[in-house]
Assembly symmetry: none
Homo-oligomer: 233 residues x 2
């Protein structure tokens, strides 16, 4: 998951309270205390969701929502409004302006996290769901399962993602840093040699089916999934 959430809130105590809760729930948090900073951050690092307080100095929360909905780039950006209890009218205006949801202060942290998750879930399209087949291997992303000649191959989460990526981009070499970016994630810092270890684990899992040769080492460059050169061993 590890979604980026931008929190726009001028009361610092509340801002931090929210941030702590979100980070505990596994989100990465960006902070802004007024609309201008928020807009700049959105421009720089397009977050996955923005949590906006209704009361902001300068450009108000609802105006920020309207503005984000108007612009092409941010039109589909999930937005949640924070409103004070009792300001009922505002909430409806917020929803009409294009917010995806709203949360009233004071809020329960659990509800906040639940609503964020719900909104994110609703937005996410299904991608990379096609079944991949090559060299006697069959990888089904929806079922999270790999079959070798009809037999189930036991893979850990990381090995599965690694094989998924390699099979989605076969017959070409991927450097260790590329693999770290695409399989582990951009912002994750791990040693490059970690890739070696997971390649080894993946090979070990394929070995019983005689398919370890599908994952090939290209010395000085990286790894490759290839059916063509697999036989030559």
């Amino acid at each position: 998951m590890a979604a980026n959430v931008l929190v726009v809130e001028d009361e610092l105590a509340i801002l931090e309270l929210i941030a702590v809760n979100l980070e505990q729930a596994g989100f990465h948090v960006l902070r802004a205390s007024e609309a201008e900073t928020a807009l700049r951050l959105i421009g720089e690092a397009l977050p996955d969701l923005v949590l906006i307080d209704w009361m902001l100095p300068g450009l108000s929360g609802i105006e920020l929502v309207r503005r984000l909905r108007r612009e092409e780039r941010t039109r589909a950006l999930p937005l949640i409004l924070l409103t004070a209890r009792g300001a009922e009218v505002d909430k409806v205006l917020g929803l009409e302006a294009g917010a995806d949801d709203y949360v009233t202060k004071p809020f329960s942290p659990r509800e906040l996290v639940a609503r964020i998750r719900a909104v994110l879930r609703r937005r996410r399209p299904e991608v990379g769901e096609e079944v991949l087949e090559a060299g006697g291997l069959r990888l089904d992303p929806a079922a999270r399962r790999v079959l070798a000649e009809g037999r189930v191959v036991a893979l850990g989460p990381t090995e599965f993602r690694l094989l998924h990526f390699l099979m989605a981009h076969p017959e070409r070499v991927h450097s260790r840093s590329q693999l770290l970016d695409r399989v582990w994630g951009d912002h994750v810092f791990v040693e490059e040699r970690t890739v070696d270890v997971h390649v080894r684990r993946l090979r070990a899992a394929l070995e019983p089916y005689g398919m370890a040769a599908l994952i090939q080492t290209v010395r000085g460059a990286g790894y490759r999934f290839s059916v063509q050169t697999a036989q030559e061993a």
Copy 2:
């Protein structure tokens, strides 16, 4: 499409106006002019969506919404509230009570139909009433009964819905949050780990028939109902 829509509205002129428009749009319309009749109709012929006027004699619209959301059988039922213009507070209360959307009177017929379609679309693709059979299990939604090799399996309501959903979408992984959305319902906020516990209860119920292996854990991803891999233990 041909969805069943129950309209709850005490002003007969408006009720008929709505009914005509909906029928023209291809919906099948049920009518009720107060909450008690509505509840009876919902009990008899579980409609696909209920359109509820805020102002009703006796049990008010919003109380009806709350009640429907509380009860097991109707928790996931799509609800739209009809409110008079200007009654902003009501709308928000309605949404908080669990309505999926609201429409202000006077409304444009086109908007009404559009919102109904939108809410229905957002809903789960209805898990039908058809009998599901897989891996020696037989689930009959109409009878709300599960048979394992001909013998009745004792399941609680939640376990039944969980198994129903899993069997309706077999051979693919469902994350805990997906399951919460589609088995518990969008409006419910419960911990993700709750899913684990119910999976455990479901497995315990299937265990005596040696069918616990049908429900599989996919580490880091969720759960899966699968006949294919069930044997390999």
